[in-house]
């Protein structure tokens, strides 16, 4: 028998459906009541027209080859084919009416996101999600193994190197800034701080000093000594309030401290004593003060232990 291929439009016709119906009825009658439909029937023998239509190859649009090489098929296949052809060639009327206008209004009542319209926020979120990817713990097999190997060498490696370089740059910049700040502070302090000018104390007129009355002489002597000590950096203020302040604030070696004590003692007696300082006390103070008053500006403290600061 010559078999020919047919198109699906050729097959899905009412005529073919009626041929199939007759064929199925005859096949069922020939094999008897087989409930599962697995019994094979030879169409080339029982239904040659149907076998001719089904042809040598699979029908376009239909999956699978219906007929075997020997031109047979099962009862179930024949029944399925009949139902497919009937449904296409002799459709039953549709149930109900579904209005497209109604659907349009339903879709319009939905949220724009549900309609598939992408807002700017959604677009941004989608873009971000596509960029960073998604965590999927179910990724298995080759893809995951490949990732395990390649990612450290690829992107993650670059990312970690960039992170490391950034951290190193950060640390370096912090160190540089700290050093710069420390240096700048030191320089600016130096610039801001006026160079300590040593004000030369006026030379003391010892003759005029000796001509003063005892009380005033003691005080004047102490003021002159204080001015010299301030000039040499031994005391902070050139105008101490009390004689004890001069003695207490002066940073002097012990011999000089004893001499200063004699001067401050006479000045104290002169300032606060009921009686004026005695001539011997004044003479002692005068001797003691001579180590400062007889010289110009002394060197700064600390004095050398050799006592070279007393007089130059």
């Amino acid at each position: 028998m010559e078999l020919r291929a047919t198109t699906i439009e050729d097959a899905l016709t009412p005529q073919f459906a009626s041929q199939l119906r007759l064929c199925l009825r005859a096949a069922r009658a020939s094999v008897g009541g087989e409930p599962l439909g697995l019994q094979r029937v030879s169409l080339t023998v029982s239904c040659p027209e149907v076998a001719l239509r089904l042809g040598a190859g699979p029908l376009p649009g239909m999956r699978g080859r219906w007929l075997d090489e020997d031109g047979s098929m099962t009862l179930r296949q024949l029944g399925d084919l009949l139902r497919l052809v009937e449904a296409a060639a002799e459709p039953k009327p549709f149930v109900g009416q579904m209005s497209s206008l109604r659907l349009k209004s339903i879709i319009e009542s939905l949220d724009p996101a549900a309609r598939g319209e992408l807002s700017t926020r959604t677009r941004l979120a989608r873009w971000w999600r596509s960029l960073i990817g998604e965590f999927d713990p179910t990724q298995r097999g080759q893809e995951q193994r490949r990732r395990r190997v390649e990612w450290p060498l690829g992107l993650w490696s670059s990312v970690s190197w960039i992170a490391f370089a950034t951290a190193a740059l950060l640390v370096a910049s912090v160190l540089v800034q700290e050093i710069r700040a420390a240096l700048a502070l030191r320089i600016s302090r130096r610039r801001r701080e006026p160079r300590r000018t040593v004000q030369r104390a006026a030379p003391v007129d010892l003759a005029a000093l000796d001509a003063l009355p005892p009380r005033e002489r003691a005080g004047a002597m102490l003021r002159a000594v204080a001015a010299r000590l301030h000039e040499s950096g031994t005391i902070v203020t050139p105008d101490p309030l009390t004689p004890r302040e001069v003695q207490g604030g002066a940073r002097l070696p012990d011999p000089d401290r004893a001499a200063l004590a004699a001067v401050t003692s006479s000045a104290e007696i002169g300032a606060y004593g009921r009686e004026e300082p005695s001539a011997s006390a004044l003479a002692q103070a005068r001797r003691a003060a001579s180590r400062w008053l007889a010289t110009g500006a002394a060197r700064r403290w600390p004095w050398p232990r050799t006592g070279a600061g007393r007089a130059a």
Binding site: G61, R63, D80, V95, I106, L110, D111, G116, R129
Partner: protein
Amino acid sequence: MKARLCAVLLALAALALLYGITFGSTPADRDATRPTSFEVGAGGYSALHEWLQSARIGTRSLRSDYRALEGMTSDFPTGNVLVVTLPGSATLLSRDVIPLHLWVRRGNTLLVFAALCDAPDWASGAQLRSLSGDIGMLTGLEAIGTRQGTGAFLATPEVSRWVPALDHPMLEGVRAVEAVSDRTVPPCAIGLPPGRGALALLRTADFGVGGRDDGAWVLPRGDGWVVLASQASPFSNRALGRADNARFASNLIRGSLAPGGVVIFDDGLQGAPEPYDMRRLLTDPRLHASLAALMLLWLAWIAGGTRLRAPPTPARR
């Protein structure tokens, strides 16, 4: 001044963050919405559900296993339609599919939308692993090129197009059907086991490109039908208004329904909770066993653990 400005800006950012977290996302704006009949988001079927109701077509939501189909369609046992979308949040292995096959063979229609060749947002992760098996279990067709993992997320959704494979009443007025994917999908195809016949209704416009052979097929099963679409999104809220998707949905459902038949959405497979049934709870033997155990514990406590008299107070020194 600078510090105050900074503080104000940070406070505003904190407020915006709080607002965003609390009120930012509406149900429709969520990332992934499941394909259920009541879901109003992009992946849901609420538009189709409402459309069917407006056409006076009865709808049901299946929340329990397939044994409930018998009771749901007891008034009209044939000419009903069940819409199943794969992958589900639960696998079909946990549900008994034999009652489903019996129900279909009796003269009902099973519409299976499988996210095999498209990738809506909700179809991801571990659910995809069972997709191939679920398709085979429901339709008898074999999924070729099943995804083993979730594809890369796309900044812009990808639209794929199906065209009619033949002239068929189900495709009257249908020139194209579109599906929307949120992720990349490898080429996929559906294979037919020997001895089964299937009629291709739709096929991809890129048929054969890279081995692609996706589309929609109709298979007879007993007195019923199984329709398999290898994409899950064509009837979802966001795709129903695209191309001729609505027309195809209308033809498919109206052509499969008998007068008095209902359309059932398998929402239970997508994780929709079963409605609360007090009678079922009261007849559950586990409840009675739990109550008995509690009463036994209470009895044991009463009999041996409680002190029936207050202990004597120690005398104060």
